[in-house]
Amino acid sequence: MTTVQELIQLNNTKRSQLTRENLKYYEEMLLYIRFASGRSEQQTEELLLELLEHVLQAQQEGRTAAQVFGDEPKAYCEELIGEIPGETRKNQLLFSARITLLFLAVSSFFSGIAGAGMYYLFHIGSGQTNFHIGSALIVVSMDVLLLYLFIMTVLRWVKASTFKEAKPKKGLEVLQFAGISTLSVGLFVAVLIITPDLGPAASIPTLYLAGIGIVLYIISLLFKRREISR
């Protein structure tokens, strides 16, 4: 059984053998198909590698990717995506849970390290983190929701920008992405500020947050092992 990781690795290596024209055509297909949500990852990667092999062989015989797959790559990709089996519910749930845990792990770890560092190195703050349990729960769930919206927006944006005849300027794309990111960060902070104090107050040493981050990260690794490729 070839794992998804191995398939992606193989794809990355082989892709470099494509001519510039074929690479451009193939990579758009790859983006479009890979970002189709809810499809079996294993089947998707097997298909992508298969298509790549086909282009490579056709290339050796002097045919281009456009000749192999036709002049309507978007419609062709939609047709392919429609036939790829869906990811199992279980894997989808495990994946979302893992991403959520990773997000919480990273934010918790770095706020712990940053907060503790400020205190121990520069004597800024108290080295303690004070919070209200109710508010903390609201902030965490709102932030997870925002993360979900952020990922969805980026995916949709990437999908919408593939197969465009006239590519928007690179600078504009960077600006758009920066805009989406800034808005998201702003919203994360806004949630933190707007949420009123609710529930009993609590206080823990800020460094503990880093520890919590590590624990959450380990749990997310366990989730990863439970995801079964199919």
Partner: protein, 109 residues
């Protein structure tokens, strides 16, 4: 989908099953064989949606395998259901082919 393309798709499915039955095949090889037999109008890429559907219907099974001379490839083989579907296709094809041939022959003769 138009009737014409639906008809062609059904026939193409049958052809693919038949080629895979003769020996496990990978995508590129399959499309070359279809061309060798003279189905040159069919674009190379059109086999992949069909291969995906045949897998989903469990008529064929794909397996990543090292090939003797080349890289790791996905080889397709016929399942038991696939054998039955191919038999079914052959019967249906025979029941269409003979009458159509007779009609065309009479018109020409």
């Amino acid at each position: 989908m138009s009737l014409r393309s639906q008809l062609l798709k059904g026939i193409l499915e049958g052809c693919i099953l038949s080629i895979i039955k003769q020996q496990p095949t990978y995508g590129y090889e399959l499309s070359m064989k279809l061309q060798e037999f003279g189905l040159t109008d069919i674009s190379e890429g059109s086999i992949y949606p069909i291969l995906l559907r045949l897998q989903k219907e469990e008529l064929i099974a794909g397996e990543m395998r090292e090939s003797e001379s080349g890289p790791k490839r996905k080889y397709y083989s016929l399942t038991e259901e696939g054998q039955a579907a191919l038999l079914d296709f052959k019967q249906q094809w025979a029941s269409i082919k003979a009458p159509v041939d007779r009609m065309i022959d009479r018109e020409e003769g």
